[in-house]
Assembly symmetry: C2
Homo-oligomer: 623 residues x 2
């Protein structure tokens, strides 16, 4: 990896920072955040502005360019990568280290008095604007919105914003029609006495209209906004994709619908002016509901007194609770995914000893097997295929420079998943194709105990996921071990593999309570720098639990694993398991046998079936 | 309990709310919070203004009186009590219920336009002022400070503010001299670049100067403030207690000390004017450090730009980590406390079957046995002595109207503690003096499993207590049971029985990480309305844990029980315990035998010793 040479680019950027064609007054600093206008976790190439100006293309980072300086803030995952990818024009600001200044404090320390700091108001979330603006103002500077994105003005070969065809999802996939979703949304709006709701997150637009796209890699979403009134529906979307007959029919664009269900289709770029018109026409007590993560530009379009901001929108919360059709779809997707992984692991078991399988080959093979399954669309994230020391790099993705060959002497960690039309998968298995050491087995078994502790936990209705995080760590903690990431995230239904508002993490205290129908991952791990990584991840569904008693009639919940892929018993030190844990493994494997076995049989994949049967032999605990 | 008749009082209050002698402009509403000027949990009789005006004397509640209305906000613990104690003039606002408005929203709904809402600026914490003031202002009203407390103007027989003699604590109790504490505080101030520190919490003043008082029941504190500069020490305290020779000597008031250790003693009431003088004399970049819970009056004395506010002060954090002298004192106090409880339980075992022991008699007897111990000062909180259904009332205190007789047919719950000159205790034991039912034993055993899960937990350095809360609930959750309170609180060293900044609760996310030397309670429970209450509470010390591995060199922590009182084995269903849990009980009881047994022997308390030996027979688990 050689660094990107940015001298010329920075010179150009500093020129446009003073060019009256783009800025009302010169700005002495310009902020280039990571995100897109929808605060997406994954972004399209045309939105990779920070990577363009700096060379650093990790998933998190903020660049700030002043007359004299260019600085990049990123977190511990990316210190090495950022240092490699950026040239000497850039100073790396290591977030999380004690002496690293915040962006605001750094700006205050380097700027001349009374400076203007520019940022694209569409890219910066309103809550972040508020925080930065306050600090800058108290130091005598001004945060100013710069309408035209200054990176775009110098990015001559900027890729076009994607505008790919849409997929319509019928009731058999979604369980609820888009009209009924609008009705439910309006009833939530009425409850909170708001007249308008602005949909800014891409997965929320997709979910609401039962549409999917492919504008962003791994995320079946498309660029669009929506503004829902009590009697109007406006969808802001570009391209001729709205001319597609199935889409027109799905949205009933050509039918004579009741007026409150007629969708007005408008250009993507007209959202701001339309929202400003809404804002200008409000009468007293008419509120507009927005996420507090919506962009500063859209938030400002509504006068402050009329804004109703919440951290989680009603769509985010409704989307998290999967209905019967979505749950059944997720089950089907996970069975198909398990078939693909049984094929893969059976293949790896034969091929790895030959010394010809690299991390990239293994990842490609996994994709190949998945793509053979019905309704496969694409992967749900970049496959983490890592062997030996690469396994300890939590967000590893094999590239030619790091590509390592799998062997019978190293632990192999595969974290992968796919988008199927009926559901989204995300599974991690840690395998050894030779003979694991006692220490490797010991660590694996602690991780497994943590995985089971969460998966088998019973907890009252209304419990937030973060209260379960320590269950996943307890066995590791007992031996002085731990892992430095959360235990689980929400998973979409043929949507983003990471979604809110629930999760299982010591860090997330803003999570919403777990409810039956929510789907999260359960993925504790253990990582030893330079040696190996272990992670065991299932996607699990929150279900009601039967308990002996029922305190205050609250009811209880537990998890049902949707992922049905064998956990390598060779890696388990059975003597470290309790009887209950041992039974959990055996029952889990029994279910894999029955459910995935039947599907392997049906698909005529007899060799993979034999592998499954061998891998799911019951454990026997020595008393 | 008959309600207090408040018609006349409210009339008087409404008059002074318009009286120009007390208010610059009439106030249309007056807020009467629970607290005192130091945001104490326990308050002196002269500060019980909310109880005076309303009749409701629970520990938490806020009264608001307008021209037309009188309303009281309190939480679920006190709904019944408040309803009984208040007359028809009052509306009960049940906090935590969905339809109950906040104080601000209620005010906005009932006040005429442009109203003034008054409050004593010494009683309301600055953070709460800010929140209320914002909402009121946005609705066109004003929150205004009323210098003279309006309740005091109509409270003709208001008790005097207590001003009791002080106790000096020498190094054998405190481990660190007050001078060294000042040095350490100044070094924390220098680190944060602040020039002044204002001590507003009573236990922080007491801890800093190694002094104790008895101005507030159960809390060995005294009314005082302190302002610490880099070269000055000002102590604001009333009465002739500063004339007491031991106190003068302890504080070296008559010695020729280095100027930076000379204590200026000033009247308690002069804090505001002195602080205003400090505020007026600040040069740029001179900051003043205050708790964000300090009163609005004191916070406002410092111009906004010069304030440095934190949720926990450096004294709060230093005080929480007990040194060797304090830890040894706490150990001694807990051994004495255990002796008293062995005597008590031995006595109860003989007396209860006679049917003559009431809850009040039992509580008095507990105090009598405690008072026989060396260095006993007072109780550390009102004894919760509760039998049968009274045990299910979590904050129960026996009074003649509710006083129930202990019997061999009911569970008895005793939550009690004392202040000794060397330490503070707080212990709960749940006993049956007849034959418990299988169900009672089952519930008790789940609670015990939770208690052990926390007490035996091993966790990394830097872990916050709230991450351990679910361990205490897991066994109950498995059967659909739970308890509706936190699991533990910080405990002072001959100081307040509840102290910050650490604790173990699903509610506390602002807690500071646990450190070796911190002391907390571990007190899960289970309560069945109308039947019984179960709680098992030890005070435990955070200590380093030896572990097999040591991830990232972080080190691990665990707990050592300081409380050494037998846990009634008759109540345990041994078959529900794991081998590890069974061993924990047996080792705990072995330690009670050795340590408390030796002390009982030394004190010649042979009958109680025999009781202890009988109660600590090892459990035998059926394999």
């Amino acid at each position: 990896m050689s660094p990107k040479i940015t001298t010329e680019l920075l010179k150009q950027l500093r020129q446009v920072m003073k060019n009256p064609k783009f800025v009302q007054e010169p700005v002495q600093a310009y902020i280039v955040p990571s995100g897109d206008a929808h605060q997406s976790e994954y972004i399209a190439p045309c939105d990779c502005r920070r990577a363009f100006i700096s060379g650093f293309d990790g998933s998190a980072g903020t660049a700030i360019v002043t007359e004299q300086h260019a600085a990049m803030w990123t977190d511990g995952r990316y210190f090495l990568q950022a240092a490699h990818q950026m040239d000497n024009n850039w100073t790396l600001m290591k977030m999380g280290l004690k002496d690293t200044p915040t962006q605001e404090d750094w700006l205050v320390s380097v700027l001349p008095e009374g400076s203007k700091v520019g940022v694209d108001p569409f890219i910066i979330p309103a809550d972040q604007w508020k925080r930065m603006s306050k600090v800058l103002r108290s130091a005598g500077h001004d945060l100013v919105p710069v309408k035209e994105n200054l990176i775009d003005t110098i990015w001559t070969d900027c890729p076009q914003r994607p505008c790919k065809p849409l997929i319509t999802l019928d009731l058999s996939y979604t369980g609820v029609s888009w009209r009924d979703k609008i009705v439910a949304l309006r009833s939530k709006m009425a409850e909170r006495k708001v007249m308008w709701f602005v949909v800014t997150a891409l997965d929320e637009v997709a979910w609401l209209f039962n549409l999917r796209g492919s504008d962003v890699e791994y995320n079946p979403v498309f660029f669009a906004y929506a503004v829902i009134g009590m009697n109007t529906i406006r969808l802001f979307i570009d391209g001729d994709r709205m001319m597609d007959p199935p889409v027109r029919e799905h949205l009933q664009l050509d039918s004579t619908l009741e007026p409150e269900f007629r969708i007005q289709v408008m250009p993507y770029g007209s959202i701001l002016s339309e929202l400003q018109a809404v804002g200008a026409g409000l009468s007293p007590k008419e509120k507009v509901w927005l996420s507090d993560k919506a962009s500063y530009a859209l938030t400002e379009a509504i006068p402050k007194a009329y804004r109703y901001l919440t951290p989680y929108t009603p769509i985010c919360i409704a989307k998290a609770v999967k209905n019967a059709a979505e749950t059944e779809g997720m089950r089907r997707a996970h069975i198909k995914d398990a078939v693909a992984l049984c094929e893969l692991f059976n293949w790896l078991e034969k091929e790895v000893p030959k010394g010809t399988v690299t991390e990239i080959i293994a990842a490609d093979k996994a994709e190949e097997f998945r793509s053979q399954q019905k309704d496969f669309v694409e992967l749900s994230f970049a496959t983490i295929s890592s062997t030996g020391p690469n396994g300890a790099i939590i967000h590893y993705k094999p590239v030619p420079e790091t590509n390592r060959t799998l062997s019978v002497n190293e632990i192999y960690l595969l974290d992968s998943g796919a988008q199927y039309k009926d559901g989204t998968t995300d599974v991690t298995r840690t395998m050894h194709f030779g003979t694991p050491s006692a220490y490797e087995k010991e660590c694996f078994t602690y991780v497994l105990k943590g995985h089971i502790a969460v998966s088998a936990a019973i907890f009252p209705n209304g419990t937030k996921g973060h209260l379960l995080d320590s269950f996943a760590r307890s066995a590791l903690w007992d031996c002085g071990l731990d892992y430095l990431h959360g235990t689980g995230h929400g998973v979409g239904s043929f949507l983003n593999v990471h979604e809110g508002p629930c999760g299982i993490s010591y860090k997330t205290f803003a999570d919403e309570p777990l409810e039956a129908g929510m789907i999260v991952s359960d993925e504790p791990g253990y990582y030893e720098d330079g040696s190996f990584g272990i992670r065991i991840e299932n996607v699990v569904l929150v279900i009601p639990a039967e308990t002996k008693y029922n305190f205050k009639n609250r009811g209880s919940l537990t998890f049902e694993p949707l992922t049905l892929v064998p956990i390598q018993t060779k890696m388990i030190d059975v003597n470290l398991l309790t009887e209950k844990e041992c039974n959990w493994v055996n029952e889990y494997h029994q279910k894999c046998r029955e459910v995935v076995g039947a599907e392997l049989e049906r698909q005529g994949r007899h060799e993979a079936l034999r592998w499954l049967l061998r891998e799911t032999e019951p454990l026997a605990r020595v008393q």
